[in-house]
């Protein structure tokens, strides 16, 4: 993977939403020899770099809810065991969907959603999104002085691959 971004759309209980973003996405994905529709490897996000544009929101998100200082499994979110649907792994350009395992806050759960792959120079531009239900990952309900984030947030991952 050459370059990537992760954006998490967080809908507020009072209406509206904010984006939490990071460019600290890394990892390697290769076509599985055993199962061509699957991808070996994983994508990892450094949660300590996630930014909401406001320091108080950043502090609460990282320390109270994601607990990034709690140790291994808490400071990173890892997407692995990815399987593509409706795309040819050998020439995956187009629209399809994916399933995968997301490890977040020390909990591993299946996620899935749409994926779009386009050619970008010698590599590919991949855009995928999926919902994350926070209680599934034992993340406390984000509530603060009467304002909170709803339980389900939408994650959008964009990255460019190298051949």
């Amino acid at each position: 993977m050459k370059q990537g971004d992760v954006s998490v759309k967080c809908p507020l209980t009072v209406g509206g939403s904010f984006d939490a973003k990071t460019a600290a996405l890394s990892g390697m994905l290769t076509t599985s020899a055993a199962q061509p529709s699957s991808l070996d490897g994983s994508l990892a996000v450094d949660l300590r770099t996630i930014d909401t544009g406001i320091s108080l929101r950043n502090d609460h998100l990282r320390e109270k809810y994601l607990e990034v200082d709690k140790g291994a499994g808490y400071d990173m979110a890892v997407l692995s065991e990815i399987a593509l649907k409706g795309l040819n792994p050998e020439a995956p350009e187009g629209k399809g969907s994916f399933d995968g395992s997301l490890t977040l806050h020390g909990v591993k759960k299946m996620v899935g959603g749409p994926v779009e792959v386009r050619k970008a120079g010698a590599g590919l531009r991949v855009k995928a999104s999926f919902p994350v239900n926070l209680p599934d990952y034992n993340i406390p309900e984000p509530r603060y002085l009467g304002v909170g984030v709803k339980n389900t947030v939408q994650v959008e991952v964009t990255f460019t691959t190298t051949p």
Partner: protein, 409 residues
């Protein structure tokens, strides 16, 4: 431009306009000092901080007025030049009005229970320059006590304050003395799924509530001063959309003090949050005729976007279908570009236009407003605004300098 050429004044009209300048300046003074409809002002510039909805920081769904505990804390920790290093209540806190950001710096502790209060006053200096002279005025623009209680989705909200001299209207006559007024008092209920209802006295939802109550989109659509209505508002959040509909038997002040100006009105506002930093707003308002005013209405659209965390750009365009006593159809366009030059220092640039509507004797107006809004610390900010208004029809210019110390305790 067609409207321009059709409304150019003759020399006689210009002479008449200059003769009436003093009257205009007096009117402008009244507008500037008269009851400012909102207290802690709505600040659409915070779109740059990914806040598209008023209810993140204000009790009122239409913005302005008392800040919620979250809004107060945000003002303290994130929007003021100093204060970021202060210890904030722990995440997960449900409702914590303590600390510097609380009413009277938290001096009352828990004595008020669930009641949240705010005391607002704005000592100001106003200088209006016009051909041949200027006028200076020191004034206390408003002095209001606001309270709210919020529990289980219910909100009770009320404010009591002082309407400045030469502002209150009783039976069609402007009162020379200050008067008691409660700009807003209402009860509302909001469900977790985004459906809400409120009843009482409030400002109907329309367009973008710019903090400057003399913005052309507020002053010429009757959202500038004590133009609240008694009515019922129903609102619903549907994904990224917000719909607000208000029906009312009439403006609050007309119902209370001047029945001849009382007339049914209805307003609707729809907002789509395209992204957390981009919003589209569509609005409409209809006011039935009264004994003294013809029926009137307006439709408008607004677009706001924030290209960075320090810049927001709002533009609103309205078609004023018929103003009450100011001519026929006209267009109003207001842009407000806000830049956070330094933490807590916002610079605003706002060109504004109102066409004459083609009616004889009514003017095309153009304004350039420059503002520096400095928020050094919780509870107070200093605001300096400069307005250059150009009456394009009569080729008359006025300039206004307004300096305000805004205390919000």
């Amino acid at each position: 431009m067609k409207i321009h050429s059709a409304t150019r004044a003759t020399e006689a009209q210009r002479h008449r306009a200059k003769k009436n300048l003093c009257a205009s300046v007096s009117l402008w003074l009244v507008i500037m000092i008269s009851g400012v409809a909102s207290t802690a002002l709505a600040e659409p510039m915070f779109l740059a901080k990914q806040y598209t909805r008023c209810t993140a920081c204000h009790y009122s769904p239409t913005g302005g007025g008392l800040l919620t505990p979250y809004g107060r804390l945000l003002s303290h920790r994130e929007l003021s030049t100093t204060g970021a290093s202060a210890v904030a209540p722990a995440a997960g806190t449900e409702d914590d009005p303590h600390g510097e950001q609380a009413f009277l710096y938290g001096a009352l502790g828990d004595a008020l229970g669930p009641l949240h209060l705010g005391l607002e006053m704005r000592p100001s200096h106003l200088r209006i320059g016009f051909p041949g002279g200027h006028q200076d005025l020191n004034l206390l623009m408003n002095l209001d006590l606001i309270g709210a209680v919020q529990k289980n989705g219910w909100t009770a909200y009320a404010m009591a304050g002082r309407e400045p001299p030469n502002s209150a209207v009783r039976d069609g006559r402007t009162q020379p003395d200050a008067a008691f007024i409660s700009y807003e008092h209402w009860v509302g209920y909001a469900r977790d799924d985004g459906f809400g209802v409120r009843v009482g006295r409030f400002m109907p939802a329309y367009g973008v509530r710019f903090s400057d109550h003399t913005a052309y989109s507020r002053i010429y659509l009757d959202f500038d001063r004590n133009d609240q209505v008694y009515g019922l508002e129903v609102s619903d959040t549907m994904g990224p959309s917000l719909l607000q509909v208000t029906i009312s038997p009439g403006k609050a002040e007309a119902i209370l003090h001047d029945n001849s100006r009382r007339g049914f009105s209805m307003a609707g506002r729809w907002q789509l949050d395209v992204t957390p930093r981009t919003a589209l707003v569509g609005s409409a308002i209809y006011r039935r005729s009264t004994d003294l005013d013809p029926k009137s209405g307006a439709v408008g659209g607004a677009f706001g976007f924030a290209p960075t965390q320090r810049i927001s750009v709002w533009t609103e365009v309205d078609a004023n279908l018929q103003t009450e006593a100011r001519g026929g159809r006209s267009w109003i366009a207001v842009n407000e570009t806000s830049v956070e030059a330094f933490r807590g220092l916002w610079l605003k640039f706002s060109p504004q236009l109102r066409t004459s509507g083609g009616a004889p004797g009514f003017s095309e107006l153009r304004r350039l407003m420059l503002e520096a809004d400095f928020l050094p610390r919780t509870h107070w900010n200093v605001d300096v605004s400069y307005y250059h208004d150009h009456n394009h029809t009569f080729e008359v210019d006025t300039s206004t300098l307004l300096a305000q110390l805004h205390l919000y305790l």
